[in-house]
């Protein structure tokens, strides 16, 4: 059984990361480590594309919270791409996490949202 590949690239001024596979308690440690390596030097807004992600459990959701919090410390935006009517969206709704994230239906919308949401540092 292989872990979840963490693919990243620059797109429309953002770092776009997709996580194809099951983001669950079995894979979350590896994914966290890879994400830290990718995000260590990045200063652009981060878009996590979960449209290819096949499962998300509470451990995966915790990872998203941690990521959001650490980016917030650096004044960096986090956007999630989750198509509607997927088990991923349902997981966020059931866990009560849906309101804690900026969620977009597509990568294009997420990147555009990031652009609009860029606010001057307080």
């Amino acid at each position: 059984m292989t872990g979840v590949p963490v693919n990243h690239r620059s797109f429309e001024g953002c770092v776009l990361i997709d996580l194809p596979g099951d983001l669950d308690f079995a894979s979350v440690d590896d994914v966290t480590q890879t994400l830290e390596e990718i995000l260590g030097e990045a200063s652009s807004p981060i878009v996590i594309d979960l449209s290819q992600t096949t499962f998300l459990d509470s451990a995966g959701i915790s990872l998203l919270y941690e990521l959001r919090n650490s980016l917030r410390m650096r004044d960096q935006a986090l956007r999630l791409v989750i198509p509607e009517i997927t088990i991923i969206r349902r997981a966020l709704v059931l866990s009560g996490a849906a309101d804690s994230f900026r969620i977009f239906g597509s990568v294009a919308e997420a990147c555009a949202g990031v652009e609009q949401a860029l606010e001057p540092p307080a």
């Binding site: 059984m1 099951d22 669950d24 308690f25 079995a26 499962f55 459990d57 509470s58 451990a59 959701i61 915790s62 009517i85 088990i87 349902r90 997981a91 709704v93 059931l94 866990s95 009560g96 996490a97």
Partner: protein, 666 residues
Amino acid sequence: MLRGEALGRLVEAAPIGIVTLDSTHRILAWNTYAAEILGADEQEVLGTSVFDLFGSGQHAALGELLARTGQPHPGSQPVLLCRPRAGAEQFIEVNSAQVSIGPEEQGHLVILDDVSERVLGDRALRRAEQAQTFLAEAGALLDTSPDPVQTLQRIASLAVPARAELCVIDLLSDTGAIIGVASAAVDPAFAGALEKIRQSYPLDPEGEHPVARVLRSGQAVRLEQMTDETYRRIAHDPEHLALMRGLRYHAALVAPLTARGRTFGAISLLAIDPARRYAAEDLAVLLDVARRAALALDNARLYAREHRIAETLQRSLLPARLPQVPGLRFAARYEPGEGDVGGDWYDVIPLPDGRIGCVVGDIVGRGIDAASVMGQLRNAVRVYALERSSAAEVVKAVDGLAESLGDGRMATLLYTVIDRAGEVIEICSAGHPPALLIDPDGGVRYLASGRSTPVGIGDADRHIGASEPFPDGSALIMYTDGLIERRGETLDCGLARLARAAGEGPADPSRLIAEVLARLGSDERPDDVAVLAIRSVSISHDLRLTVPADPRRVAEIRRSLRHWLESRIEDEELYDVLLASSEACANVVQHAYALRRGAIEVEAELRDGELSILVRDRGRWRTDHVSSRGRGTVVMNAAMDEVRVSTGEAGTEVLLRRRLRAAVAA
């Protein structure tokens, strides 16, 4: 040999025009017949140049003939010259020979013959033939084509090159704009040039362009000789003028597309070849084609509107959603055919005794009438299904009603009553294609029993019912004949293809229908199709799994659960159950894994619409290894009706319960 006067008399009387010319081509004398052919008095023409008798366009040919006959070996090949004559053209065959007209002077003897009748006759015949071909071909297209706009394109292609170098068909849009919908040209450059003109200068509906004028007046226009003046009147600006001059058309015919008193388009034929002329009869031919095309287009427009109304009516009469029944899953589809909407319908009716009535029917006939009769029969089936207990009694009652409607409409109808508890179905078919039964092991057979003839033809008592076993895991497909009919194929072929597709299809009824429609579909489905699929699912069913206590194996448990559940519940419930079960497994596995324990067990059961899932490890519980799984607990509680986590000497155990929505609704 004849000499002197005798010769003079003979020349004078010859049934052929004879003219003598001097060396500078001036007319010296001519005979009566020449005067008649050329329609001029001898006094007027004597001393004038023979060239003056013809237009400048003919001078080159005449000059060549005279030069040729000046050679020592004169050719005998006559030339055909053309000159205008009241209302038509005159064709004169001209030959010449060199003659001595004086001691030192060589002149010409010119022989004229009026061959107009022959030339015009040939030409008229050829035109008539072409016109007939054009009319016949265009007529055939209009009679057979289901897509009139495509037909216009083909008519444009037929007109070229027989009747024009360039043919354009314009339609008036709903907003009043003039839109070119079809064009054809002998040379792609012409079509390109026209396209460019139309793109840069859309026709002004109020403007002077012949097409705009025809659209306003409904009257055809024949432009025999387009001049630069004509171009200038039409052109919007110098660039437009330049583009039109570049196209160089010198004559045009524009006929209106008029039907039911409404002019909504125009066909234009443009002549670019200098030799092409448009006569009144050419316009008559174009008008004939335009009239037929307009009628076909207008019929298509009315038909499309009626089709939309009928389809809306049809859909409004079909059930918005099918009932939720424990132990049964339903799916249905209605697909309109490419033709007029039919009277196909389906319905699912929960009966007071807990059985379920299912019906698929097909009204003979099409259009709005068929759809409204369908509505009446559908309601009749609903009412009688609740009143009468046996399938045959319901069909008999519907038949009685169909007959009393008295409009001679027939319908085929298949009514089945599913007794989930007794695992049996009752069938009554009134001339309808047989239902297909899929066994739990995937075997398929058509149910041919309980069959009689369509309703609406009298003698309602002949309908009979039959019973068939319908064990857990079986599926039934009911459909209208549009599903199995394909042009050029027998019904048996269609039935065989349906059996194969259904036997190999997925368990989930809506996926099964999608698969069957995809496999039996063709590009040209003439008739509409109604399909209803019913699958009986076990009311009590167990799933047992034992997997090594390894976090990476939890995905396997999710897959097994998904596979077990997906044909039984809807996607959103499935998501909830999978998310909760996964949290339960994580809870148990993490503890067991940390302790290097062997395995975890999952037991799931579905009884009377209630799902329960038990996850536990086999081993001892250690209280010093409790990690917080707060978020997982939130998910489980949100997803399930009941969550119980118990810990003890034997290990961890999580019990999840949820009443399924289908069962709640029932």
